[in-house]
């Protein structure tokens, strides 16, 4: 962890990311969440009160303080999506994953989020998986989508063969 924090901070010191939000965005992108020790380090190095960083980190839905799953699924319950039945879709996704929005599956593969409008209302109801927008989703279509990703996951696992560190190294 020490090593990792050092190099990260070097990078974060670049002049472009001076605001707390952009700093946090960088950290979030890198780790998929905001690790506590990194936030503490940033506060120290940059002389920003930790509480200010923490406030921003908890304010925006885009940031997460708990580790996120490998795949991020976002459902929309904005007006347009709601009117076109996003609720059923969200419920179906919750059912197959076995988690409520805001949580991550036990295997660490999927995180479920719910937002209010993604700005693509023409495609309502909308589901975003890993940044890819899927429009006009029905519960059945959501199920298909999910299957697609599980198959993909399985293949990846098989490719890696055994899941030990050496195997992963070889698979690279």
């Amino acid at each position: 962890m020490e090593e990792r924090t050092r190099t990260d901070l070097e990078n974060l010191k670049k002049p472009n990311g001076s605001s707390v939000v952009s700093l946090l965005q960088e950290v979030q992108e890198k780790y998929n969440y905001l690790p506590e020790e990194i936030l503490r380090e940033i506060a120290k190095e940059r002389d920003i009160p930790l509480i200010d960083i923490y406030s921003v980190a908890t304010f925006y839905k885009a940031f997460s303080l708990a580790p996120k799953g490998k795949h991020k699924i976002v459902t929309c319950s904005g007006t347009a999506c709601h009117v076109r039945g996003s609720e059923k879709v969200a419920r179906e996704i919750s059912r197959v994953l076995g988690i409520e929005p805001g949580y991550t599956t036990k295997d660490g593969l999927y995180s479920l989020e719910n937002v209010n409008c993604l700005g693509a209302c023409a495609l309502a109801p909308l589901v975003v998986v890993d940044g890819k927008y899927h429009g006009n989703v029905t519960p059945a279509k959501a199920l298909e989508l999910f299957k697609m990703y599980t198959v993909h996951e399985k293949e990846e696992k098989e490719e890696a063969g055994c899941r030990c560190a050496t195997a992963k190294e070889l698979a690279k």
Partner: protein, 230 residues
């Protein structure tokens, strides 16, 4: 200097004076929950509302954050203002009935019922503690987290803060931490045990007719019909 009209008086105040400060200077009391002389204004509680402008163009603004402007017509005790204040106090009573500060204010302003769903929050999000910690104690140990209905005050990661020096400043200034007295109405959401003022002149006029607070004449009884009997 800035010239403005405060409750019909022509007054002069320094630049960058807020309406609340101006009113205070001229001895007019405006209730405020999230304001403290020693801290920067925050505008969260809205209790310090005053009416600016006249006729159809008048509007309510929070006096603690509104800077005095030349020619501004300010009225601090109109019917509209008092109605809004009472409603706010009623909401605060419903949110945090255990606070002595709020109970006292409610009594003082003649709020005797609570029509809203009763909650028992420990915090009204006035932000006084945050400003106290940051501005007077150089602590910056606590702050607002989350947003919307989940918004609350805490130290980072909800753990004991390294910055906190346990000075107690935050608790000293917190209006919700001042527990109410265990008086006769201890269990009721509204205590009113020391209710004393509701300007009876408001029964006859649009605006309170004097600036006495508490209103001595009313208490002695001027022969006019009082709104509350006690």
């Amino acid at each position: 200097m800035i010239n403005l009209t405060l409750n019909g008086m022509e007054i002069k105040v320094e630049k960058r004076t807020t309406l609340l400060e101006a009113a205070k200077f001229y001895g007019i009391e405006i209730p405020a929950l999230c304001y403290d002389e020693a801290l920067s204004p925050y505008g969260a509680c809205r209790l310090c509302l005053v009416e600016i402008g006249t006729g159809n163009h008048s509007r309510l603004v929070s006096s603690c954050t509104y800077p005095a402007r030349d020619g501004l017509i300010v009225r601090t005790h109109t019917e509209r203002v008092i109605k809004a204040r009472k409603l706010l106090l009623e909401l605060y009573l419903a949110t945090c009935p255990s606070s002595r500060t709020i109970q006292d204010m409610a009594s003082k302003h003649g709020v005797t019922t609570v029509r809203f769903k009763q909650k028992n929050e420990e915090c009204i999000l006035c932000g006084l503690c945050v400003r106290m910690c940051a501005e007077q104690m150089q602590g910056k140990a606590i702050g607002f987290v989350n947003r919307g209905i989940k918004r609350r005050i805490t130290a980072p990661f909800a753990k004991k803060s390294e910055e906190c020096r346990l000075c107690g400043g935050c608790m000293y200034i917190c209006p919700a931490c001042q527990a109410r007295c265990q008086g006769p109405q201890e269990e009721n959401p509204v205590c009113n045990a020391c209710l004393n003022l509701s300007p009876p002149c408001l029964d006859y006029f649009q605006e309170a007719m004097c600036y006495m607070d508490p209103c001595v004449a009313c208490e002695l009884g001027t022969g006019r019909k009082a709104k509350f009997t006690y």
